[in-house]
Amino acid sequence: MSNSAIEFKAKQIPDTLSKLGLIILAIGVVLGILAFYTDHSRALFNYLIAFMFLLSVGVGSIFLISLEYITGAVWSVPFRRIVEFLASVTILLFILVIPLLLNMHDLFHWTHTEAVAGDEILKGKSPYLNTSFFIIRVLAGLVIWAFFYFAFTRNSKKQDLSQDQHLTTKNIRLSAVFIPIFAITITVSAVDWLMSLEPHWFSTIFGIYFFSGTVLAALAAATLIVVLLKEKGFLHPKIIDDHLYSFGALMFAFINFWGYIAFSQYMLIWYANLPEENFWFLHRWEGGWIVVSILLIIIHFVVPYSALLSQPAKIDPKRLKFASIWIMFAHLFDLYWLIMPNLESEHGYSFSSIDLVFPVSVVGILILVFNYNAKKYNLLPLGDPKLERGLNFRL
């Protein structure tokens, strides 16, 4: 069999990329440390935003890998490596989670034993919301994700040499197991890290809400890398607009999905107007928060929706670059909207330059993670039996 994919020689990733990543990360870390010295609790909440963003990209990428296998998709095969690279962020979470676990007392109201003792509802939740069980859940989630990350990518990389079709079957089976587990772990993460920041509040849709953002962040990160690589000529020449279209269409679909879930949650709580739930939204409507809340609708829905609506927009590399960067920003903004109102401040919303610090390190980390993997592994899954079909993909 003539396999033009294998004959293709990939260009080397330039060394400047790692330098760029290191410089950005160094700036981010220095600024981050300064932020912790200036305002410890604000910096901590911002750190949580950055952590959740990386969790979204990492775990969302594992989900995208499993989605490709379980649906038998071919168009995405030439890009699966890029998603695999992003998924390795999951491993970094083991280190990044440590500052959060050490400072739980400043993040979570329910860790204050004296507050729980005087609060019937929090007392009722304490079998779930207690420090040791929380840590067990967090670590269990990280271990599960890491296991699936290694399992998927190990099979995928082994296939580069062996071209063994059975490895694809193995990964399909893994995906079938992973997806239900993913649904549970991502829901638990959403409840633990985000919902329990306001321990009195509850919403059954919340796990799905976070899931929609997770997939968006992972998808946007992958799209950005794909478009940049394609522009610089690192990708296989057979990759054409038809492939890009799928990225644009999927981002568009998930933007709508996020809008649908966010609207459902808001609508039902607004309509029923029960004080035990509506206070969460009312808090985000007080003082300056009203501006942030309205901006969320524009940033997370109106702008990307309009940017990706038309068919030509979904294949335009410039538009896709804009949309993917914007969507990553929107997910950060969404996390900001979810997390920051729980920082106790007396006078509603106030902006601080600390809020801008942590995303810098996120960019640095993502560049370095990509660079590290891209130097080490093939950019194309050369042994994947679906690769040929993926490269020849037409709409």
Partner: protein, 456 residues
């Protein structure tokens, strides 16, 4: 079984030629109905008649003939409505969403599923109209200025239902019809009967199979798919709002919209599988509606079944987590109260049995999938029963607690709705092509140009 991932599995099996496909699909329309047809329509017609009698008695004496009581003001009327709207979700999902996801296998089943959508929505529409007690005043559901000064209550989700369901029905019908136009033209060319030729000519809108025709057709189809996709989600979302905007424990929970949509797709696919098993056998369509189709549909059933299971689990967890004693009571009462039997039927049928589809053999075995699909339909009917009745029968005041038992008329109308549905389905199989001839031809072997470097 060894799978070669390098080649695309064929959608149409048995290496049928394009003309064979047309022959196969058009055959039921060109032959006289046989004995089996009359037996089938006899059974469904009888069920329909039972329903008509029960409806007539209800209209004569009033809604008091039903089992609805205080506190269970919503009984079978709403349960059946939600059930049938749910069944109506698979068709447009298959034709619109799977189209946008470029799933070629949808072509073999899309036509039939769309028809079922339309019939199911017709069945669904009957129940709220009857439940109003005075169906002849239904015209006031449309907002038009009248001398009585009557105006609809726009803040009520029940009126949103009227608009959502009627929009969904209209768009599904148009979508279905657009897909039928090329087939009407093919039938027009084939038929020898003068009357049929006139009818087919009218409905084919002067279709000439020309390049320009196809260009317009494909654009229209894509646009309609785009319109229909949000509608699939919106209809059951709004149905879920009927419950969830209220402040009833057990009804008011934020997961309801996506949960209802997943449940609707779940039950809709189960119904499509149930009916297609028979259609495929009776009309010898084994090469067009293959075991691969069922395999994929069963996977969708399993996936949506687990989504529904996720929603049950979330409801349980958050009811506990919320710390709200009323929420907790409703959930405990559902699982262990007087309606525990209904709850556990629901859980086993919707969550436990579909797990059998993990095994490939079961996904590809006709008797197993028929059994599971029917159980899923039972389970999804009970889900609506559980949501509606168990939340209502024990409210805040223990002195006003009650128990709902359906009357013969409730059951008769439910039977009648099945009769109506199947009568329409059976008539459809003899009047219109049950599989889209043009779409299946487009995915048959050799219809697509192969690209450079491909190993086709």
């Amino acid at each position: 079984m060894k799978i070669d991932y390098k080649i695309e599995p064929p959608v149409v099996e048995g290496r049928l030629s394009l003309s064979q496909i047309e022959e196969l699909v058009a055959k039921p329309l060109e032959t006289r109905p046989d004995k089996k047809f009359f037996i089938a329509i006899g059974i469904s017609g009888t069920a329909l008649l039972i329903g008509i009698i029960c409806v007539a008695i209800t209209l004569h004496y009033g809604i008091g003939m039903w089992g609805n009581n205080q506190p269970v003001g919503w009984g079978f009327g709403i349960v059946n409505f939600v059930f049938w709207v749910g069944i109506g979700h698979a068709g447009t999902l298959i034709s619109a969403i799977l189209f946008l996801l470029r799933q070629k296998w949808r072509t073999g089943i899309a036509r039939f599923a769309e028809a079922m959508t339309i019939f199911a929505v017709i069945c669904a529409g009957l129940f709220p109209i009857l439940h109003t007690g005075r169906p002849w005043l239904g015209g006031y559901l449309f907002p038009y200025p009248n001398q009585h000064g009557l105006w609809i209550n726009f803040t009520s989700p029940l009126i949103w239902d009227v608009f959502a369901v009627s929009t969904y029905f209209t768009v599904s019908l148009v979508f279905w019809y657009i897909g039928l136009i090329p087939d009407f033209a093919s039938l027009r060319e084939r038929t020898a009967s003068k009357v049929k030729k006139i009818i087919y000519s009218i409905f084919s809108l002067g279709w000439r199979h020309s390049n320009r025709n196809w260009l317009h057709y494909e654009k229209a189809y894509l646009l309609l798919a785009g319109f229909a996709t949000p509608l699939v989600l919106s209809v059951h979302t709004i149905v879920s709002f009927d419950f969830a905007v209220s402040i009833m424990p057990g009804w008011h929970t934020t997961i309801f919209p996506p949960y209802f949509v997943a449940g609707a797709i779940f039950s809709g696919f189960a119904m499509v599988v149930t009916v297609l098993i028979f259609v495929r056998k009776i009309f010898n369509l084994e090469h067009i509606i293959t075991l691969n189709h069922f395999d994929k549909m069963n996977k969708v059933i399993m996936a949506t079944g687990m989504m529904v299971g996720y929603a049950y689990a979330m409801e349980f967890f958050i009811a506990w987590y919320s710390g709200n004693p009323f929420e907790q009571f409703v959930i405990i009462n559902r699982a262990f109260g007087p309606y525990a039997w209904a709850y556990w039927i629901m859980v086993t049928c919707n969550v436990v049995f579909p797990q059998l589809f993990w095994i490939k053999k079961f996904r590809r075995s006709i008797p197993v999938m028929l059994a599971i699909a029917i159980l899923v339909n039972v389970g999804m009917w009970f889900e609506r029963f559980v949501i509606t009745v168990t939340s209502l029968h024990r409210d805040y005041l223990p002195s006003s607690w009650g128990y709902f038992t359906p009357t013969l008329y409730d059951i008769g109308i439910l039977v009648g709705s099945f009769g109506l549905f199947f009568t329409l389905v059976i008539l459809f199989t003899k009047t219109l092509p049950v599989v889209s001839i043009s779409e299946v031809k487009a995915v048959a072997g050799g219809a697509q140009p192969s690209h450079h470097g491909g190993n086709h």
